[in-house]
């Protein structure tokens, strides 16, 4: 198992990190996602914009395997992952954060990140207490440093501030060896200072880690991404560089004008 993951990693170099071919999803009569085709190069950083209900989170769920697409194919570093279980995708280096924080309220910050590191490594199962020299524990320390949470390491997650919880969300996604991360509105509910902090954290990520970010805050979205996709009613309707999107009249009218609330 471990070797096959390593093999897929090697084979993935040079190809696109994420390829979506005509991916769609409907719930009964409701069409949530319709014919999405998308290519994102390894290390690329993509923002996905769109009003509420445009299908952005549905797109994430399809990519991470929270539910399966009704049709279409998804490839991750060249490998078809359309039908894989979520944890299998995680092990291949795909990560995500959640729009509403999905954390472990009664664990300490350190333990949470430790578990995340453990989850993507071998030996997830152990009846032994992790010692200070434990590899996953060491990695957790460095991730906590990367997301500016070192001081909070021993605090219970439930007692963290909202902003700190969003930082922890990102920390959990950094565990192991992420190759590609899906950020679902990481800036939601953050103060201006915290937003600046967030931009700093995201821009400081190693360049080989690509990501897709869903964000309503254009300031954040455009400053961390190098390419932008616009979604509306479950479809992609425009793509371009941040500058192009910022200056596009149609985008300004439909989306920036009054679309999002």
């Amino acid at each position: 198992m471990a070797s096959s993951i390593a093999a897929s990693r090697l084979q993935g170099t040079g190809t696109n990190a994420l390829e979506l071919d005509n991916v769609g999803r409907h719930f009964g009569a409701l069409v949530a996602l319709s014919g999405i085709t998308m290519r994102i190069a390894a290390g690329a950083r993509r923002a996905v914009l769109g009003s509420n209900g445009a299908g952005k989170t549905t797109l994430f769920n399809a990519i991470t395997g929270d539910f399966l697409p009704s049709y279409g194919r998804i490839r991750f570093f060249g490998e078809d992952i359309t039908g894989l279980a979520p944890q299998e995708r995680i092990r291949r280096g795909l990560r995500r954060t959640y729009q509403i924080s999905q954390l472990f309220r009664n664990l300490s910050v350190r333990d949470s990140v430790y578990l995340a590191c453990r989850g993507v490594s071998n030996g997830r199962f152990s009846l032994v207490r992790p010692g200070a020299g434990d590899g996953a524990m060491l990695q957790a320390e460095s991730i906590l440093h990367a997301v500016h949470l070192d001081a909070e390491a021993d605090v219970l997650v439930g007692t963290l501030s909202h902003g700190e919880q969003r930082q922890l969300e990102i920390a959990l996604a950094l565990a192991g060896a992420p190759r590609f991360i899906l950020f679902d509105e990481p800036a939601a509910g953050l103060s201006p200072t915290e937003r600046r902090d967030l931009i700093e954290i995201l821009n400081a990520l190693p360049r080989h880690i690509g990501f897709v970010i869903i964000e309503h805050d254009l300031d954040v979205a455009l400053r961390v991404s190098d390419y932008v996709s616009m979604m509306h009613n479950g479809r992609l309707f425009k793509e371009g560089t941040p500058e192009e999107i910022e200056n596009d009249a149609e985008v300004q009218q439909i989306y920036l004008g009054g679309g999002h609330g």
């Binding site: 991470t64 929270d66 979520p86 944890q87 995680i90 092990r91 995500r96 959640y98 999905q102 954390l103 472990f104 309220r105 009664n106 664990l107 300490s108 350190r110 333990d111 949470s112 430790y114 578990l115 995340a116 453990r118 989850g119 993507v120 997830r124 199962f125 152990s126 009846l127 032994v128 207490r129 992790p130 010692g131 200070a132 434990d134 524990m137 021993d154 605090v155 219970l156 439930g158 007692t159 959990l172 565990a175 192991g176």
Partner: protein
């Protein structure tokens, strides 16, 4: 679900096992060790040993409910399964089975079967979540009760088995009051320390994280179902060992041992004691056993159940964390730590 919250204590990275080496534990250990010298045989076995056994069964529930968020009503059933194995493979005087195997085969087989049964229950129960688990395990426990009552070939039906005897090892008959008390104390202490340790092991942290947010645990690569089933297996092992002691304690096992009322009793014990810390089930067991034994001298046995029921209601209402929670709130507490009051 504040009842199920576990105080996450800091410093998982500490290399040792510090919470065991406290003044409180030393004092408790001392008192438990000298207790038989102070008390009558009746108090040593009927109160002391019996509380430890009931506490051990309730501890297995505490592991599932406190750390795993799965409230099981089937723990007495699992303990009962081990007791039945003791009766079937060991000696009994009911004239059915009683294969007469030695204790050193019977005990591991009994505990092992109980843990496997527990894993099977768990596998059924984890298909559902939260509050459903109570209902499903209650239904499973009832099914087992009826089955043992009706089946004569294996379980000897309604009367069950009697004449179960603890072994004589090293020249000591282990059902004599003092040896039996120390046996129960040793087993309970091992169970307690193991749970205390395992709570902060990778598995323990995983289980608690699954309780808090199973969806995220899946998203960071954990097999939630397998971990939950393993927790059931572990809890089953605790309950199974307790079941062996229960068989020796009572000298018998019958469908009445695993009926609905005893099943509820275990939940009452665990909740009264508190589900936040592994000492809780033992505190609850002691309180309930003492009340149960002496209610007839104080209030008369007729309204015993009203007494225990009201006590339970009051505890659930004013202190979701049972007696432990009351203690945390009102007891002398110089080292009170603001962080743990969430």
């Amino acid at each position: 679900m504040s009842l199920l919250t576990e105080v996450g204590s800091p410093a998982a990275s500490r290399p040792h096992f510090p919470e065991l080496f406290t003044q409180g534990h030393a004092l408790l250990g001392f008192v438990l060790l000298v207790y038989p010298a102070l008390a009558s045989d009746f108090f040593v076995t009927q109160i002391g040993a019996y509380s430890l056994i009931v506490g051990l069964i309730a501890l297995s529930l505490m592991v599932l409910a406190g750390y795993g968020g799965m409230v099981s009503m089937a723990q007495i059933t699992i303990a009962g399964a081990a007791a039945y194995v003791v009766a079937i493979l060991g000696d009994n005087n009911s004239g059915v089975h009683g294969l007469g195997w030695s204790w050193w085969i019977v005990v591991p087989v009994a505990a092992g079967s109980a843990s496997v049964l527990s894993a099977i229950f768990g596998w059924i129960a984890v298909r559902t979540e939260g509050i459903y688990t109570i209902m499903i395990t209650l239904a499973i426990a009832t099914a087992c009760f009826y089955f043992t009552q009706q089946n004569y070939a294996l379980f000897n039906g309604f009367p069950g088995y009697s004449g179960l005897r603890a072994p004589t090892v090293l020249g000591v008959y282990w059902r004599d009051p003092q040896p039996f008390y120390y046996l129960c104390l040793t087993v309970a202490a091992i169970g307690y320390v193991a749970v205390l340790y395992a709570a902060r092991s990778t598995f323990g942290l995983t289980l608690q994280a699954i309780r808090d947010n199973p969806r995220r645990m899946r998203a960071i690569g954990f097999d939630v179902t397998a971990h939950k089933v393993f927790a059931w297996w572990l809890a089953g092992l605790l309950a199974g060992v307790a079941g062996v002691l229960l068989a020796w304690f009572n000298g018998r096992v019958s469908p009445g041992t695993i009926a609905v009322a005893p099943a509820i009793n275990i939940l009452v014990v665990a909740v009264i004691g508190g589900l936040r810390h592994p000492i809780g089930p033992f505190v609850g067991a002691l309180v309930v056993v003492v009340i149960q034994t002496f209610a007839i001298d104080i209030v008369g046995a007729e309204r015993f159940n009203t007494l225990i029921g009201l006590f339970f209601l009051v505890i659930v209402f004013i202190s979701p964390d049972g007696i432990l929670g009351l203690w945390a709130r009102y007891g002398p507490h110089p080292e009170r730590d603001g962080k743990t009051s969430g």
